[in-house]
């Protein structure tokens, strides 16, 4: 089955996928050391439960959390915790507290790691809790905990599980490689996720530029003989893989701007997440590794690598033949939304689907950009997949006009970068919008704080007045009582 794109616009970009996709997935030998960032990409961190010096095995829980937006962490190595310290990490801000584990060379597996006897006997709630304990998080790029999404999907009665295999961003092809090599795992995980989400259907969306993955997934589904499971081929238009845009392409329904995908009856999960769920079900394995695309003109042999979480990016690049030429940027993610990192000592995170080592050939257009005034040409609004008017938003951002920013939808921007891409004046619009959003959030926080302060001040003023009135009354009643006998005396005289 094929679907047409129905979200507002988008654009076909140079894919650059053939570089890394030609060869099978490389299994990285266990590295000497890993650095597990407490924040694995969702923006929220877990709390370490091990101390420096603790001995750990593969799969030992090292950080846990009750916070719905953070995920638990497990050691991918057997060895010792050698440090818990702030280090370079592939997260916002560029640094995070990391648990550094050094391998002792053994491959001892933690006793808690046992295959799940019968995942089908678990209730959706039990499944969700087990997935949370296993630290399963969105491997598509957001790193958002899967269990939190599942729970909210159940609460809102989502009927469709949408497996995102679109992989629309240039350079990235780890999901493609995974679907071709482990299609049965993806389907197995999808069935578990479908049950955990309380959904009845499962749709696997794949872009039409990945015929091999489509064939592999279709074959795996046929082996399952499940009528409520199907592959939908979607056009290879960026940003097809953005959650809301993909939901609209597949279902024709828009996710409300102030709502969640589950409000449109859909829960969206990445295919790699489904494969990780399958690994958990067959081996009891929490997320210890992921497949990551290591590519770009700056690496010798671009390829897809299965590597332990926390592996230094330098190790990954070395496994791909090392640096080549003059690498100018180390990007975690693709060239449209990826985060440029300052150091290759940062560790692989659950959310990192690509390591792009870019040379001038890859990013020269951006490096050489000269910003000119906006000529209101409207190319940006013609490509915006959120239906925004970036040129108007840009003016509002420059003026820091908060009402206009809200009204024009600065928070509806999905950071896809297409407006930058097409802008003939080469204005860094996306970054301006990110900045405007930060300032808008800060201003709203300040306004909220002022409102709180005002309320507290008013309550205090009222309390002081009431206290004063009460004291006055008490004073007067005492005085009256003191006068009472005198009055009586006076009365007696009369």
């Amino acid at each position: 089955m094929a679907a047409r794109s129905t979200f507002p616009a988008g654009l076909v970009l140079d894919a650059h996928k053939q570089q890394a996709c030609g060869t099978p997935i490389v299994d990285l030998p266990l590295p000497r050391q890993v650095a597990l960032a407490l924040d694995q990409g969702s923006g929220y961190g877990a709390e370490p439960v091990v101390a420096v010096g603790a001995a750990v095995a593969m799969g030992t829980l090292v950080a846990r959390t009750d916070y719905p937006f953070a995920s638990a962490l497990h050691s991918p190595l057997a060895g010792t915790v050698v440090a818990i310290e702030t280090r370079a990490a592939a997260v916002e801000g560029g640094r995070s507290v990391c648990i550094v584990i050094e391998s002792n060379g053994s491959d001892r597996i933690d006793d808690s790691i046992r295959p799940v006897a019968d995942p089908d006997s678990l209730s959706p709630e039990q499944l969700t809790q087990r997935l949370r304990d296993a630290g399963i998080a969105g491997l598509g790029g957001a790193g958002f905990p899967t269990a939190t999404k599942l729970a909210s999907a159940r609460d809102r009665g989502a009927q469709t599980l949408l497996l995102n295999g679109a992989e629309c961003e240039p350079w990235i092809c780890c999901d493609d490689a995974l679907m071709r090599s482990a299609a049965d795992d993806v389907v197995r995980g999808a069935l578990i996720l479908r049950r955990a989400a309380g959904a009845v259907r499962c749709v696997i969306a794949i872009e039409d530029d990945k015929p091999a993955a489509i064939a592999a997934m279709t074959g795996a589904i046929e082996r399952q003989r499940d009528a409520a499971l199907k592959v939908v081929v979607v056009p290879a238009v960026y940003p097809q893989g953005a959650e809301r845009q993909l939901i609209t392409t597949v279902t024709g329904v828009e996710v409300p701007a102030d709502g969640l995908p589950a409000d449109a009856g859909v829960i969206c999960q990445n295919v790699a997440t489904a494969a990780a769920v399958a690994r958990w079900a067959t081996r009891g394995e929490p997320i210890l590794s992921r497949v990551v695309t290591v590519t770009g003109s700056g690496v010798a042999h671009p390829c897809n690598i299965r590597a332990p979480i926390g592996t230094a990016l330098a190790t990954l690049v070395a496994a791909a033949g090392g640096y080549r030429g003059t690498p100018l940027r180390l990007i975690a993610g693709g060239n449209m939304t990826g985060r440029a990192l300052a150091s290759d000592e940062a560790g692989l995170t659950k959310a990192m689907n690509c390591v792009l080592v870019a040379t001038r050939d890859d990013i020269g257009s951006r490096l050489g950009a000269v910003e000119l005034p906006c000529i209101r040409c409207g190319d940006c609004s013609n490509v915006c997949p959120a239906g925004l008017l970036p040129q108007q938003l840009y003016r509002a951002a420059l003026a820091d006009a908060h009402d206009a920013l809200r009204q024009l939808g600065v928070r509806d921007c999905i950071d896809c970068g297409l407006c930058d891409y097409v802008c003939p004046s080469q204005i860094p619009l996306t970054d301006r919008f990110r900045d405007a959003r930060r300032r808008l959030n800060a201003a709203e926080a300040t306004a909220q704080k002022a409102a709180d302060a005002r309320e507290r001040h008013e309550l205090r003023t009222r309390r002081l007045q009431e206290t004063a009135t009460a004291e006055q009354q008490a004073f007067e009643s005492v005085r009256n009582r003191a006068r009472q006998p005198g009055d009586d005396a006076a009365g007696g005289k009369s």
């Binding site: 929220y44 507290v97 709180d452 507290r456």
Partner: protein, 181 residues
């Protein structure tokens, strides 16, 4: 000229004046700007530090003074130029620089009590306009950072000068820095 015509004209004009006057007065009473709502709207633009630098006992009294014309809009250093501009826009006046007589604007700050030095005298507690200091006599005091407006009113009563004002940590947005255990 016919005197009757003059008389009629005067009569008509007078009647018109009376009728329109009554109508205008009635209309004005319908749309009369409610003094309280103006104070509310001014108050909403003030930073609510309740610091009293404007020499009114809090933001709302200052808002009332602005609304009644008793005070200019340039007396609020914590709000800075942004507040003056917002007030000027609301009241349709031209913005003016802050009056330095009322203090200079500072970056956002919050009070912090050096708990080593605090003697638990409790004198700062009633000074706080937003009840953001927790403590009791002979108990150590502490400031609820999230509630503190940085008004500095707790500084003068402290006998041991154990309170200092620190810059507000940068507003953390979506990102929350994970802490080591």
């Amino acid at each position: 000229m016919n005197p009757d015509a003059v008389f009629v004209a005067v009569l008509v004009a007078a009647a018109l004046a009376v009728t329109l006057g009554v109508a205008l007065g009635w209309a004005a009473s319908l749309i009369e700007p409610d003094a309280d709502s103006l104070v509310e709207r001014i108050d909403a633009l003030l930073p609510q530090t309740q610091c009293g630098q404007c020499r009114y006992p809090g933001c709302r009294p200052y808002a009332a003074a602005i609304a009644s014309g008793a005070a200019e809009i340039d007396r609020c250093p914590p709000g800075g130029d942004a507040t003056v501009r917002a007030l000027a826009a609301l009241l349709d006046r031209s913005p003016r620089p802050l009056d330095p007589a009322f203090g200079a604007p500072k970056p956002a700050q919050v009070a912090w009590i050096d708990e080593e030095k605090c003697i638990g005298c409790a004198r700062c507690l009633p000074a706080c306009p937003v009840d953001a200091i927790v403590g009791a006599p002979r108990q150590m005091h502490t400031v609820i950072t999230a509630q503190c407006t940085g008004c500095e009113l707790c500084l003068p009563p402290c006998p041991v000068d154990c309170i200092e004002l620190r810059p507000v940590p940068a507003v953390s947005l979506r990102y929350r820095q994970p802490r080591a255990a």
